[in-house]
Symmetry: C2
Subunit: 199 residues, 2 copies
């Protein structure tokens, strides 16, 4: 069925990543409070990157590279699962599990593409470039938006406090000062409306 081994590898990778649609997160959709999955989140994140790229602290950044990061950053969760961001228990072993997953999943691709995707994923994790910083910022902003517009559904369910949300999300400022100012206002408004515990 496959004309080349290269195409076979690419198609089998594209089949494998279908499973990202099965990894459910703690955040819920704004309309019916159904849990969001990682494929939907990754799509939404890529849209946030495209729509809000003008707010990056560093203007000279590569949008395509940042969009790619948004699209692939959670693929490791096909093997490693989703870790709730306010759950500190699992986070120590998370990194190692995710690195193994990156090598297995991206390793399905032809060698050069596998390397490109592993490098992109590691760059995202290390947050040392303007692209990785901005991608990480919007990766925090997107769940804030869903939490706010679902009236704090996941926050209320887990009894999350304002200080935890600030601790978790203040890195938004590294990618975008403007978006962090907005996020702070949104957090304050969430407390005011009873979506989020004060303190």
């Amino acid at each position: 069925m496959f004309s080349t081994e290269k195409l076979q590898k690419q198609i089998l990778f594209l089949k494998e990543i279908d499973d990202l649609k099965q990894i459910f997160r703690q955040t819920v959709l704004t309309k019916d409070q159904r849990q969001e999955n990682d494929a939907e989140h990754s799509w939404h994140l890529a849209m946030v990157v495209i729509v809000l790229s003008e707010y990056s602290n560093l203007q000279s950044f590569d949008i395509l590279k940042t969009v790619k990061m948004a699209l692939i950053h959670d693929l490791v969760e096909i093997d490693a699962g989703d870790t709730f961001c306010y759950d500190t228990h699992d986070r120590t072993i998370k990194t190692e599990r995710e690195r193994e997953a990156a090598h297995r999943i991206f390793g399905l691709l032809p060698k050069e593409q596998a390397k490109e995707f592993i490098d992109l994923w590691e760059e995202f994790e290390e947050m040392n470039t303007s692209e990785a910083c901005f991608a990480a910022s919007v990766d925090r902003l997107q769940p804030l938006l869903l939490n706010f517009y679902s009236e704090g559904y996941a926050w209320r369910k887990h009894g999350v406090k304002k200080s935890q949300v600030i601790e978790r999300n203040h890195h938004i400022a590294e990618g975008s000062s403007e978006l962090w100012r907005f996020a702070e206002a949104l957090i304050d408004e969430s407390v005011k409306r009873g979506y989020l515990l004060d303190g």
Copy 2:
């Protein structure tokens, strides 16, 4: 909460498009045969564009633009709904409904971004550029892959025939001769395995 009217428009657009996750398609996921939704499909499509871009008939094409098309091409279905591709009944009024939806949904954005997205969506629909041709090709290839790897679930459910699949999908060749050769082999293999009716 919003520092500028521009940011408010962008955030409200990003909130609105959360509803793409509620629009379910006829194709099903390979693992549990749950129907795929448009956000998942758009994410998967963007990944197909990135992984298979080397097979475009025209090499000099803009990958970012093609990825953007993949990400936004189905947003109109938030208002207009999904039309099953082998259902000819609804297709005549589909175009007008979708054009209205494009203007309402993209019109939530600041003027310049609204224009960029409406233009991109129209370019995708008209299929006159190399980016639109390739995006349209993979938009047909991705459901073929899901149909094949779900053992023809949606084809069998609707009693779809090989000739219909070829009629619907031969446009893949306009974006990529190589991917159309692969699709033909996949269609033949589907008939052989009983996923798809011959004739």
